[in-house]
Assembly symmetry: C2
Homo-oligomer: 344 residues x 2
DNA sequence: TGTTAGCACTCAAATACACCGAGTGCTAAA
DNA sequence: TTTAGCACTCGGTGTATTTGAGTGCTAACA
């Protein structure tokens, strides 16, 4: 167990390192007015902190830098709460000022403001489309062989793709089918559509539609909806501004990962616990992210959790500020989404 | 006017520099078997080429590197034609192997293959949606105040957004309006929609629709279609692999530009002349692109030009290979689009 | 017993210096 | 016109040397 004094020293070391990026020495600390000790005393305490694994040296006679364990302790117990400036609060509010009707745009804007305010990279995982309920199916013929299938959900989300229509299918049958599908399927969550079709609608269709069999493919194609949530990035290149990544070798794998996006999709999917979560350095278990930390929060409509928004920065990150901002954005976002979309 | 020998030397210098990235000295050149001259003779020729502005020294006793003028001459007159390997041709063909129904996806895939084959960044400017012709307008009410407006074009492109519906508008009127709009506007290019509405459809609407005035806003919102062509990037981080950008300072502005995309939108818009166009270094007139070259080509359906695809690389770029590949992709793309979409 | 002053020690970073080698331009001879 | 030869330049590399910020340890002090 750490003493009060060790906690104070650990906190000041990490605060200073986060600010300066330079290893912190005992003399630097002794000059701080919150610590009234000689450098020698501090050296003794630092030696203990190092033995316990909270801080490290970069070489034998260097100052100390926080270890991952140190950051972990800092984030869990030592964060000095930050107040946002009026301007920051104002900026956050401004994105919700005008009523935006596309849910995904609001989420995207939230990611944008996060990266603007923090100068880190921000990622938002959108709501799962597959949970949405069907509002309308529409099939619009383009020519002999092709048509556009459009699916509208209760949240106003539109999915569309071009499908092939067998030559044997005539337009009036197509229309009849769409009508039946609409009658029977409105209100069904997208993910359950196929199931429902086979169990309940197939019989009806077979009875009423001429060549049901040749149409089957069209139906399946129509309901083929991407299962993945959309993801929005903002400030993808902000990592280039971090001095720890001034070496291009270090940043290349990270930028590649950010460009490809898919690793982050998996990562964020896992981060669906309510509240702020911080993963530090190798806790992320992704090579390329050894020197990064990820802070995540979830947002919701009412009690229903919709998605995750996150801030990605270097391990030497302004945790306090980032957490405060993320918290604020996530809660404002949830509030406004609840107001706009609940039971609408 | 350059002599045959100067041309040969210039070409070999640039070829070598593109390959190695190192300044090329007279002794290196004299050892090449296509040049049977002593280093001293070559030095004299190089001095002349430098005076004429085709090559430069990095410091007083360094070898020579091509100047922008040198690259320009090289691209215009000295390119040694390259043959693509069978694998390359195969890869290009593979993207067009299966019939893809979404036009934009084909374009996006083309950009992807370009960056895969060249290891440079690739950009594709999609076809202008506004030129497409209207196939169907659809308005689907979500709740009391909002509805989804969907516009389908003859190419199968779908535009959608959520609109507000005044409380005074009743559903049957909405439906009637949509019917009238569809009757009168199908086949009209999207860009002309508004014009046509005011000139020809407004009167009809006023006659048949109850509260035409309060509905006006809804109509305008519905037809509010983004005018900009979509743009697709591939290999956004490939520039990080180029040794000339190993200094993070040099690449930061460029990556920022690539992230933001809009500068490239303007740039590609201007590059709509048929055939291959190469702009070298500062010819691009964009700060951040001093050390980059852009190669563009257009693609088309039949005689109608649709858009531009481009390769962005360092000025020290494999022009010959890049041009050959781009040419091939652009022409294959045009061929296949023509086959698939002309008069469909 | 906890704190501190003092001291020897370490190591990264900066500075200085010599030297190598790849390059140049110029001159004079072939 | 070409080439051999030579003096010169300059970036890069290797080796000392110095500097300074840091450490750990010890002994004296309150």
């Amino acid at each position: 167990m750490l003493t009060e004094r060790q906690l104070l020293i650990l906190q000041v070391i990490i605060d200073d390192f986060i600010r300066s990026g330079q290893p912190v020495g005992s003399r630097t600390l002794s000059k701080k007015h919150e610590i009234a000790l000689s450098s020698a005393t501090i050296r003794n305490e630092m030696a203990d902190l190092e033995e316990l694994g909270y801080i490290e040296k970069t070489h034998v006679s260097s100052g100390r830098v926080p270890s991952e364990k140190g950051y972990r302790y800092y984030v869990d117990h030592l964060l000095s709460p930050q107040r946002l400036t009026k301007e920051d609060i104002q900026k956050i509010k401004s994105i919700f000022a005008e009523r935006i009707y596309e849910l995904e745009k609001v989420v995207q804007k939230s990611a944008q403001i996060l990266s603007d305010l923090t100068n880190y990279t921000s990622i938002a995982l959108g709501p799962a489309v597959k949970e949405n309920k069907l509002k309308r199916i529409q099939i619009i013929p383009l020519n002999q062989q092709t048509a556009v299938a459009i699916i509208v959900t209760d949240t106003g989300h539109v999915e569309n793709h071009v499908i092939t229509v067998p030559a044997s299918v005539n337009p009036s049958d197509l229309e009849k089918m769409v009508n039946i599908l609409n009658e029977r399927l409105i209100g069904v969550p997208l993910i359950d559509l196929k199931d429902k079709i086979y169990k309940e609608v197939a019989d009806v269709l077979r009875k009423h539609i001429h060549n049901y069999d040749s149409m089957l493919k069209t139906i399946v194609e129509t309901l083929d909806i991407p299962q993945e949530e959309k993801m929005f990035f903002a400030g993808k290149t902000n990592m280039l501004n971090q001095p720890e990544f001034s070496d291009i070798q270090k940043i290349r794998p990270l930028m590649k990962m950010i460009e490809q996006e898919k690793d982050f999709y998996r990562l964020l999917r896992k981060h669906n616990r309510k509240g702020i979560q911080v993963t530090i350095g190798r806790e992320n278990q992704l090579s390329g992210m050894e020197n990064c930390s990820l802070i995540t929060a979830t947002y919701s409509i009412g009690d229903e959790q919709l998605g995750t928004i996150a801030i990605l920065g270097p391990t030497r990150m302004e945790y306090s500020r980032a957490i405060t901002i993320l918290n604020r954005v996530a809660s404002d976002l949830s509030t406004v989404l609840t107001k706009w979309y609940q039971n609408s």
